[in-house]
Symmetry: C2
Subunit: 356 residues, 2 copies
């Protein structure tokens, strides 16, 4: 085990990599972790002791506020490798900005940009072998922050831990996805935390999603909590509708996460000359469009799945199948995104971020 | 250290109590913990190895789902001691039922009643000295459950930990409380998790509460997320309004926690012959009532504070002071509740639960 410090981050390397034990062809998303992780503590008003050390368990008080009050935020991003062994992140500055937007809403002190990127570079350097080349392969990166002060009173913590975990990944979803439109449960409200990647937003979706699964749907498309008349987003994806040749997606705001893949799809669509309509999307119009045949596609966008074509949706006890096609926008967007991510083509929007 | 097993719960006692180090006259709520804690793990489909052991840190994966997805629920209850050294819980069956209602909503497996009460009895037996007699003194009890499976994919955990911590407490709030009515932020929505004691509900309130504090208010009274026209509850208290001699409080439902103190106040009020009106309470009527002098009191009810009289509220940049009085309902309810809790009088509703 060797210990070194470069710039700010103290590094404690593993004595022996675990990489040879990993079956990279049979990964279950989010369950395998690389050799190293990053850790930084907030106390006495500042982020302290940024450290990379071997992936392993934490020692934490059972009274830590994260357990009791869900004061926690996270991000999800990916590293990709091209065929020459060069590694890239995809728009990491947007993830960095977003974790601090989330942190603010959850009363967590903002994390410093310099340490974030230094940690990222050092981690990629150390665990580069965990990024496999080839479309679909990636290293999923999970920065997160948790409240660590011991105290069972409902007030903000004065101590936090910021961490980054790395998890090698293959494609996230297998096959097409069937979704159901939410008619009773809801995910977020105006004035709430829906726009933040706050931990509690996700746990709150598990039960309704279990119910949806029992009916044969893998995901829920959330609607506005108030009327359930407008389609918002899925659990970990923004949602696009293609009606004839127009691409429609809901505007982000209090209730909808400002997805980086979503922004990227809109940019690529514009570049391709596809008409985009960012506006509230009503359940009524989508049901009408599927009936008259003008609804060509629905797909989700998100870091984990990149682009997830949806094959059918359920609403009011009906199931509506979407037309099959081999000229789908979703395939074009996925291809375009992957070409950028895997360094197979131009990077017209400056989204690739080399990390060695 | 001695280890014994009675019924189901394995007990590992501290070798030496820490109680002599505690300054019981200067407790900060929720920061001091008794000698022992309870712990029980869920895996392979059942709750296993119920254990009481010395209070101390956990070892847990940084990928545990509780950190990433806020899959966690809790309860808050109290033990009281009378002048003869007898200890009592207050309506613990209601807390037990409620943690399983919360658990269901958060896709956490229900905890068995028998183990819960056995753990409670054993803990009280072991740490009885931590319950101090005298009005205001209590042992705050914090049962909670967290998702422990290591995995950064947004799906329910298949492993959990259920714990109970004990924290000696004096009175929760000092002085009267100034509140502000929510006009922009919101706490919960129909179809959401507001009715559950889900961890994320609390962390989500910290930032708006910080903003309220900067304006001189200690708490927020949440309004409906949709119109902000109806008054719902505070962060950890249900809210009552006394208009002339009628007691008004909002009905519980999707968005409002079914508070045990609230139910108890309604029961006591009925018993005292006070008219209660459980119905939506509009901001408009309360502002009108404070202006015409018919609003006599606002107070909060909750396990931590028991009854918390509110001295003023802010709304649309105005601050409305409430009349002072020495014939407040809030004082009568607090007295009545404490007489039951501390075994100073009859227990007409069978709320006291002896624990030795
Ligand atoms: C609620 C929610 N919506 C959308 C997304 C997609 O965002 P992004 O494209 O930045 O991954 C995510 C996942 O990150 C999410 O958690
Ligand atoms: C949101 C919320 N409302 C109300 C209450 C009061 O409930 P109880 O009287 O059962 O403590 C609590 C605290 O327990 C709470 O967390």
């Amino acid at each position: 085990m060797s210990i070194s410090t470069k710039h700010n981050v103290t590094v404690e390397k593993v004595s022996k990599s675990r990489i040879d034990e990993i079956d990279f062809d049979n990964l279950v998303f989010g369950t395998t972790f690389s050799d190293h992780m990053f850790e930084c503590d907030y106390k006495d008003g500042s982020w302290q002791n940024p450290t990379i050390r071997p992936y392993g368990p934490l020692t934490i008080s059972p009274a830590a506020k994260v357990f009791h009050y869900g004061q926690a935020v996270f991000e999800g991003m990916k590293a990709f490798k091209d065929d020459n062994g060069n590694a890239f992140l995809f728009r990491p500055k947007d993830n960095f900005k977003r974790i601090n937007i989330s942190a603010k809403r959850m009363a967590i002190p903002e994390f410093p940009e310099e340490i974030f990127f230094e940690a990222m570079h050092r981690l990629m350097e150390l665990d580069k072998a965990w990024i496999r080349p080839g479309f679909g392969n990636s290293l999923y990166i999970r920065p997160f922050a948790i409240a660590t002060q011991a105290g069972v009173s409902a007030a903000p913590s004065d101590q936090y831990k910021f961490m980054i975990l790395l998890s090698p990944a293959q494609a996230y979803y297998t096959g097409d996805v069937r979704v159901v439109f939410a008619e009773k449960f809801s995910r977020s409200a105006n004035g709430g935390v829906g726009y933040a990647k706050a931990a509690g937003n996700y746990g709150a979706q598990f039960y309704p999603t279990n119910l949806a699964r029992e009916k044969g749907f893998q995901q829920i498309i959330w609607t506005d909590a108030n009327t359930h008349e407008y389609l918002e987003e899925a659990g970990t994806m923004n949602i696009f509708f293609r009606v004839n040749d127009t691409l429609i997606t809901a505007p982000t705001g209090d209730r909808i996460l400002d997805g980086i893949t979503r922004k990227s799809v809109l940019k690529i669509a514009e570049h391709m000359g596809i008409t985009c309509d960012v506006r509230p999307v009503s359940v009524k119009e989508i049901v009408a469009a599927v009936k008259d045949g003008s609804l060509k596609e629905i797909f989700g966008s998100g870091t984990a799945a990149i682009i997830s074509p949806i094959s059918a949706f359920g609403y009011q006890e009906e199931v509506y199948e979407l037309p099959k096609s081999n000229t789908r926008y979703s395939d074009r967007f996925k291809q375009a995104l992957m070409e950028i991510q895997y360094n197979k083509g131009e990077d017209p929007f400056d989204w690739r971020y080399p990390v060695g």
